[in-house]
């Protein structure tokens, strides 16, 4: 009975999560209007490590305090009843036959070591949480891989019917397609670099359920570990009645693997799925509030704890010993979204959840691989050939859960330079090929336009004089939005392109004499 209530709760939260995910998309208005970061706002692991690493307090931190207090009293109810990744693991796990946890119990410790590693690193301001935080991982995987895959599959299916064009059927399929477009499909097919890589990692997490049910939740999840520690003295406890004959039935169906050796129960591992309460053949299991008995201490092994913690510390110089740390070295194509903090601060705050990429109106925000060093893996980079930064859009700042991308008012955002555009005169049509073209100037969104036209005479091969307008970039006005690069008709390598020199967030990555009047 309670099991079914739990299932309903899982379904509701998974649906809420997917609904909010779906709402993380522009409808053409200035404001998104939905609290799409909600799940991340509730995440205490993100909260604690962000405070440690970035020395700033996330906007909606109080929500994660709610979850901390909730867990201290009620245990890991979040894992069993709420967590959307937990629910997906739960569903995948049904493909594997249930069995008692047995000796695999020792693997529990991994997640605590991972947690210690992450905490140690963030103590030294290296923010690795988002890589393994379940909510961040889920949002990133859905955004950059699974949702695009879903869209691709559905669109290909209906496009095939559309082009095949069988009478009557095509009307039906187009009607259905339209319905799906209005409800679950993205406005445009989202496409990301590394889609397959990020997707395979996610599928691997789900696939682990075939080795052990809820493998991720039991053995790897750092958020689960944190909640496990918090719930050690939880008041909601399992108790056994007189009838228990240690038959071990509950050990087999326990989702967290919290029950072992017949009647032993680990509060920090229990997901409160209520399977044991429901299925006990003697009806001897019950959950209730009590303070009786001190739960067994978490035995992680002092040596292992030290190793995990030390590894976290060592990982800081290991990851940072890269040319990216050299003063003055900048990857010129590492264009960050508008409002992004100065690079070092940005990396300390970004949890690579991918919400900004999901919401980016042009699909231009993409996950990095090594462009920002290993530390910056999967952080957002604007690739103007894929999509530019829409002049009147502020959505990425609205969805960022940690403030790595500041939430800016429209007027402020329009002043932010993410880089500067420059012209490749060897490729530009009016410069190199005596051919008219003003596409970059036409689309330049600033007022006055940062790209202006210089009218001049050029000679073609026959010696005929042709009057062309050559684009020039006003570095004071250019904000690096990249629409010129996106639309440049010179395919492949564009004739106008943006690099991050001049970006507002950097003091050093500049080129003009400060304050110099034109």
């Amino acid at each position: 009975m309670i099991k079914n209530i739990r299932r309903a709760s899982q379904a509701i939260f998974l649906f809420l999560f997917l609904f909010l995910f779906r709402q993380t998309e522009s409808k053409g208005y200035d404001d998104l209007g939905y609290p799409v970061r909600l799940f991340l706002d509730f995440d205490p692991l993100v909260f604690i490590t962000t405070v440690l690493a970035s020395h700033t307090v996330p906007l909606a931190f109080y929500l994660s305090v709610i979850l901390i207090v909730f867990t201290i009293f009620l245990g890991r109810v979040f894992c069993g009843w709420v967590c959307p990744l937990g629910t997906l693991n739960n569903m995948m796990g049904t493909l594997r036959k249930a069995r008692p946890i047995g000796d695999r119990r020792r693997l529990y410790r991994w997640k605590y070591y991972i947690l210690l590693f992450i905490l140690a690193a963030s103590l030294f301001r290296l923010h690795l949480t988002g890589i393994l935080d379940p909510l961040s991982l889920l949002i990133r995987s859905l955004s950059a891989s699974i949702y695009p895959l879903f869209n691709y599959a559905v669109r290909s299916f209906f496009d095939t019917i559309f082009h095949w064009n069988p009478p009557i059927i095509v009307q039906g399929s187009e009607f259905l397609y339209d319905l799906l477009k209005r409800s679950v499909l993205a406005f445009e097919q989202p496409l990301f670099v590394q889609s397959a890589f990020i997707g395979l990692l996610f599928l691997a997490v789900l696939g682990l359920n075939l080795i052990e049910r809820r493998f991720w939740c039991k053995f790897l999840c750092p958020l689960g570990a944190l909640l496990g520690i918090l719930s050690r003295y939880a008041l909601l406890r399992r108790s056994l009645g007189e009838g228990c004959d240690a038959c071990g039935a509950c050990e087999t169906i326990c989702q967290g693997g919290a029950i072992h050796d017949g009647d032993r129960w680990e509060s920090g591992e229990c997901l409160y799925c209520m399977n044991c309460d429901d299925l006990c053949p003697r009806n001897a299991v019950s959950f209730g509030f009590s303070t009786r008995g001190t739960p067994a201490a978490l035995n992680l092994g002092r040596r292992n704890v030290l190793i995990a913690f030390a590894s976290g510390i060592v990982s800081v110089p290991l990851i940072r010993t890269t040319a990216h740390s050299k003063p003055g070295y900048v990857n010129p194509r590492l264009i960050r979204p508008p409002g992004a903090l100065e690079e070092r601060e940005f990396l300390r705050a970004c949890i690579k959840c991918g919400e900004c990429m999901k919401v980016c109106i042009t699909n231009g925000l993409q996950p990095t691989l090594l462009e920002a060093g290993l530390e910056g893996i999967w952080s957002p980079i604007l690739i103007p050939r894929i999509g530019y930064c829409e002049y009147r859009c502020t959505l990425c700042g609205q969805v960022c859960p940690t403030g790595a991308i500041a939430r800016l008012k429209l007027e402020a955002k329009q002043q932010v330079k993410v880089g500067l555009a420059m012209i490749d005169e060897g490729r530009c049509l009016p410069y190199a090929h005596a051919t008219p073209c003003i596409v970059c100037q036409e689309a330049c969104p600033t007022s006055p336009k940062a790209i202006w036209l210089e009218e001049t005479n050029v000679r073609n091969r026959e010696g005929r004089v042709i009057r062309v307008k050559r684009p020039r970039v006003d570095l004071e006005l250019c904000i690096g939005c990249g629409i010129c690069e996106t639309l440049c008709p010179v395919m492949g390598q564009p004739a106008i392109y943006v690099t991050n020199v001049g970006e507002s967030r950097s003091k050093t990555n500049q080129l003009l004499l400060p304050g110099a009047a034109k």
Binding site: G28, Y29, I361, R392, T435, I483
Partner: protein, 300 residues
């Protein structure tokens, strides 16, 4: 009353009853003989001047017949709000949609292939809401719907154009008058870039010839040039209210070249200053010389 008397009375009354209709017919004939080529209406309310100008030409019934599928093609190209004059006035669009339905249209479709993000353009321009409220089917461009059209024109051999435009019974062009870096101004003929598929920005390499080719392929029934606000500089995107001039004017006609030639005068140019107007006239697409046109100006 005898039989003769009855017949006489019946004839008189009958004639009297049919008189208003007959008068209307006479007026219509007179109007037609007046042959207005271009109706220009000025006034504070965009919806009223739109209606008045179209009525001068004989009303929407002259252009739209019962059961027609009509495409109304505004300029929704940029992510700007109406006061910046980068997109067609939403009230003008809404009024035209409403008039099409009043004239018996079965369906009115409104769309544009935007340059900035389509969702933002549709919403921020106010056009999606205004046209939607008037009953139009407002849709975003569906990339599958382009059809290659043979042109063998001045510049273009062929180009993919939007099927909805090609398949419509009637097409009404509703551009806004704006400054443009290459073609000087963007008016009616240039508004057809919004129905072009493919890498359309390449036509800037031969803009005037290409615009004539496209305008010839589309053949609009009616053109309503929105000059309620015009963008005098930094076009076609705008972005500053100081570049916007309020003229409170619309110009309506069936001749795209004539409309553009007239539009040029709003900016202090002559029609012949615009390459595509000159070429369009030469190609027989329309009349450039405003002196040869019957232009009726009204204040509303």
């Amino acid at each position: 009353m005898n039989r003769r008397g009855f017949l006489k009375n019946t004839a008189v009354v009958g004639a009297g009853l049919t008189l208003p209709g007959a008068c209307g017919l006479v007026f219509r004939v007179l109007e037609a003989s007046e042959r207005v080529d271009l109706a220009v209406a000025q006034g504070a309310a965009p919806s009223q001047i739109t209606r008045a100008a179209i009525d001068v030409l004989g009303g929407m019934k002259r252009f739209v017949t019962k059961g027609d599928v009509v495409v109304v093609k505004p300029n929704i190209g940029w992510d700007r709000t109406p006061e910046y004059a980068a997109t067609t006035n939403p009230e003008v669009v809404g009024t035209i949609v409403k008039m099409c339905y009043e004239a018996g249209a079965k369906k009115v479709r409104v769309f544009d292939r935007t340059v900035s993000d389509s969702r933002r353009c549709y919403k921020q321009s106010g056009i999606a809401d205004a046209a939607g409220a008037a009953g139009a089917e407002v849709s975003h461009i569906d990339d599958r719907k382009y059809r290659d059209v043979k042109m063998n024109g001045l510049a273009l051999k062929s180009w993919p154009l939007y099927a909805d435009v090609l398949e419509a019974d009637k097409v009404i062009n509703v551009p806004i008058a704006k400054d443009h870096g290459l073609s000087k101004l963007t008016l009616a003929m240039k508004n057809w870039m919004g129905v072009m598929g493919g890498w359309r920005s390449r036509i800037h390499q031969n803009i005037d010839e290409s615009l004539v080719d496209i305008a010839r392929a589309v053949k609009p029934t009616l053109t309503v040039l929105d000059a309620v606000r015009i963008l005098t500089a930094n076009g076609p995107t705008g972005g500053s209210l100081s570049d916007v001039k309020r003229l409170n004017l619309v110009a309506v006609g069936t001749d795209q070249v004539a409309i553009d030639s007239f539009g040029a005068t709003l900016f202090g140019f002559k029609g012949s200053d615009l390459g595509y107007v000159r070429l369009g006239a030469k190609a027989g697409l329309g009349v450039m010389d405003l002196a040869k046109l019957k232009i009726k100006k009204i204040q509303v």
